[in-house]
């Protein structure tokens, strides 16, 4: 098999080269992943916290249901349902751009996993921390805000790193709803140019670079948030 990297410099029919197109697509991948990350973190932190509340059985039930619902259906299927089925119930959602839909789908999907990690992080803290917060006169909300969450988040940075990398990789399903991101580029460009290997290689490399960047960024955050003298007991993470 012979390489033909010149394929990236050829015109794709609309006046830009495949290279330009691929870089645009990379931008979309990062945009989808970035926006979904924000949704996933906010919702995940909230749901994960709700799951650990004492004395609020209905909130706990709601958040458990959320997690089970969003983590037990494949992402591709979820996106499809957001895109085609939900608008049948709420016709106004038809007007939503697919970017927003995909951000919510990917964000909620990931939020279920982040919620699991947040819960694990909170439960990994000694019970005494909660007592200590309450005993100082903090309300439950204040106890979470000032005592529990800051520690829980530090503990779960390693699994959050994996989840963030997973989210980036999972953004590849956005092609299913017409986002011109890397996977769509790969599928389309290899069809047009018949240089599948070169295109896949380049796209794989861009994914790997992005995932690595996320990894480094999180490592930086971890270092920033490191507490002098504190030894973190890890919580494991899986996922993709």
């Amino acid at each position: 098999m012979t390489w033909d990297w010149n394929v990236f410099l050829t015109d794709d029919g609309s006046g830009r080269t495949y290279l330009q197109w691929m870089l645009d697509a990379w931008g979309w991948t990062l945009a989808v992943a970035g926006a979904s990350w924000v949704v996933a973190m906010v919702v995940g932190a909230l749901i994960g916290t709700l799951r650990t509340l004492p004395n609020s059985p209905w909130l706990v039930r709601f958040s458990n249901a959320w997690v089970e619902l969003f983590r037990n259906i494949p992402l591709l299927v979820q996106i499809f349902i957001w895109y085609f089925v939900v608008p049948k119930v709420f016709p106004s959602m038809k007007e939503l751009p697919s970017f927003i839909l995909v951000v919510f789908a990917l964000g909620f999907f990931t939020s279920a996993r982040i919620a699991e990690q947040v819960r694990a992080g909170i439960q990994a803290l000694p019970r005494g921390q909660r007592y200590a917060g309450l005993a100082m006169g903090f309300t439950t909300a204040q106890t979470y805000r000032y005592v529990i969450l800051p520690m829980a988040f530090r503990i779960i940075i390693p699994p959050l790193t994996s989840e963030s990398m997973n989210l980036l990789k999972n953004s590849s399903v956005a092609f299913a709803v017409s986002i011109a991101e890397l996977t769509m580029f790969a599928m389309q460009a290899q069809e047009e140019t018949s240089r599948g290997i070169e295109i896949y290689l380049a796209v794989t490399a861009l994914y790997a670079i992005s995932a690595f960047a996320v990894n480094r960024a999180m490592a930086l955050v971890e270092k920033k948030l490191q507490i002098p003298g504190y030894i973190v007991a890890g919580v494991a993470g899986g996922g993709h």
Partner: protein, 228 residues
Amino acid sequence: MLGLDMSFLNWDIISKFVLKGFIFSIQLTVIATIGGIILGTLLALMRLSGKKILTVPATIYVNGMRSVPLVMVILWFFLLVPAGFYALIPGGSNYRAEISAIITFVAFEAAYFSEIMRAGIQSISRGQVNAGRALGMTYAQNMKLIILPQAFRNMVPILLTQTIILFQDTSLVYAIGAYDLLKGFSTAGKIYGRTEEAYLLAAVVYFVMCFGLSYMVKRLQARIAIIR
């Protein structure tokens, strides 16, 4: 309701289109879980061995796999492994996509399982390790009899979560034309012009299976959990 028409999915169609994919998805999940855990445990042991010749390749392998999307790995494996390889497996050339998918999943999931097992092994306190050694056990005996049994039990919930993810990820084998559960539904939907209904049903089936699986394992876990 909602203008959906589920009637097209009768038993005939399910047995023709869906069942085959269902069986393959389950096969793939089971084999990849078992294979992935075995290979992953080996990788974890390599990474924890403290010997450079073992840790470096294992670390590169695990981090490499973890930074590439699964679809890409599936494609790469399928496209780059020479045909001759499949000839070595009995019946291999008939089920190329399927065999390729299985190998890819074992290799890929091993990277994730290895991280879980590594955390599991590290969660066993230094004291337990010392206790085994103090009784005269060799490194291998200590691993096999003391550390791994505890690490596995501690990690059951996370291994389970990973298996659920794995099961859902089997849907990505569409990239190489292997026939899985989702493809079973979507093919039936396409041929009968009932795409939406097929996806909705797929969602329900996946949910029931994943939820059921997690429920079952939670109960199993309660039984095998270490009393503390």
